[in-house]
Structures are given as structure tokens and as C-alpha cells.
Symmetry: C2
Subunit: 137 residues, 2 copies
């Protein structure tokens, strides 16, 4: 069955809390994960909160990666939403499980945009042979 | 049951394709939706792709809102991930259904971070009585 996108909802339990509360580490892990997935990075934004915790997102041409960490519980919620055939979201997920030293990961793979006619493929919107124009605002 | 966060996965089918491909409209709708939910906006990033489609994220203190549009199919995938008791994610969802003139919405409400002990509430990480320090990178 063809869908417009694949959305991995990832619960990372029993991670290393020091890594989860380190802004540089979390950002680097997420950007590297996007690269592992062969994604095209468009924008990166990470923030740390007081007293604890980090949120961030990597917008990619193929959709996005996001993370919210609760270091006090050793837990992070990660989303990897991708489109197209070239991208490898599970490799990004595997990479993050290792970077965060997660001992208890779970992954739910959800299809987004399952549109009729269900037997047909819906072309990916950003094509490789056309010039990509990214405008940020 | 208490969870760290609530994640609304929203499929908006049969929307107005002109709205879905208008960068200003999409960004304004998402920012307004965050305000409808009484969220605290931390960062906003929206991008339009060639030939068609928009992606964007609003990072909030309470997690994030994201959108990816496929105007050619009248479809948008929206995620509203929120934490804490004060925020109103369903109001944001209802607002977006109206802004995008969606005739066929569906919402899945997923709990993120269901951690033991399951009967106890896990305090929200960003507390109102402490100074919030947002550092962006």
C-alpha cells in the first residue's frame, strides 16, 4: 500500500540522562541521524529548557525529525517523518538508539496520507530532476 | 492514565489546495493554532518546496506543531505534540480544520511517554514558577 509519508514514532526509554540533557549532543545526534537517513537538511532548531530538557527539530526536504527529552526520566520522544523512496528512516532511528544509549526503545511505523486510489503510487512532491527552491520564513 | 505528552496525529484530507500552497497562510494558521492552544511559542520555521508543497514547524515550550502539505492532493499531515495541563491541543486542531477548509479530517490521539509507575503523574518539566531560559542554537 502506498502512502505519502512514513512516520516513525519512537519512544526511547532508559537512555543516558546526561546525553539527553546536553544540547550539543542532542543536536549533533539528530543532525547526524538525518544524514544517516540520506535526508536533505533544510533547517535546524534546538532549545534547552529550565530546569531540564531539550526540544529540537530538523526540517528536511523529505519532512522532519523532532525530539523532546525528559532527562529526569531517561526518556526521549522522537519522531521521524519522511517521504520518498531514497530516504532511510529506520537507519536514523537505529543511529539515535545508539547515540542516546537507549536500553528500551520502541518504534511505531505509521503511514501518513493513505489516499485513494489505494493501489496506485502518489508521486513524491520534491523531485530530484527539478531545481529545489527553498525559501525560509 | 498519565503520560508525559499528548500527540495528536492529524490527517487533513479534502482541504483547499490554494491555502495549502500559500506559505504565508500556512505559517499564519499554524502560529495562530499554537496561540489558540495557549502554547508558548519558542521558534517558527516554514519552507516552501518546488514544485509544490509547504513544510513547517512551530516549536513551543510544550513541544511542537508541524505540518507538511500536498496541495496537489488537497492533503496536509499535521502533528500537535503537547505536554502539561494548561495547553489545549484539540482547540488548535479544530482551528486548523477550519483554516484549511478541511472537509475530511481525522485525528488520532496518542499518549507519548507512558512511564511507570502508571498510576502516578509525572510532573511537567517546564514549571511556571521558575524562570524559563530558552537558548537557541
Amino acid at each position: 500500500m502506498h502512502a505519502l509519508g512514513t512516520h516513525l514514532l519512537i519512544d526511547l526509554k532508559d537512555c543516558n540522562p546526561e546525553v539527553l540533557d546536553n544540547l550539543e549532543e542532542v543536536r549533533d545526534a539528530m543532525v547526524s541521524a538525518a544524514n544517516e537517513a540520506k535526508a536533505t537538511i533544510v533547517d535546524v532548531s534546538f532549545h534547552e529548557f529550565n530546569p531540564i530538557g531539550i526540544s529540537g527539530m530538523v526540517i528536511i526536504a523529505e519532512s522532519h525529525l523532532s525530539i523532546h527529552t525528559w532527562p529526569e526520566y531517561g526518556y526521549a520522544a522522537v519522531d521521524i517523518f519522511t517521504c520518498g523512496d531514497q530516504i532511510k528512516p529506520l537507519e536514523a532511528a537505529a543511529y539515535l538508539i545508539e547515540r542516546f544509549e537507549c536500553k528500551n526503545p520502541s518504534i511505531t511505523d505509521m503511514k501518513r496520507g493513505l489516499l485513494p486510489p489505494f493501489g496506485e503510487k502518489h508521486p513524491h512532491k520534491v523531485t530530484e530532476d527539478k531545481l529545489r527552491i527553498f525559501s525560509q520564513s
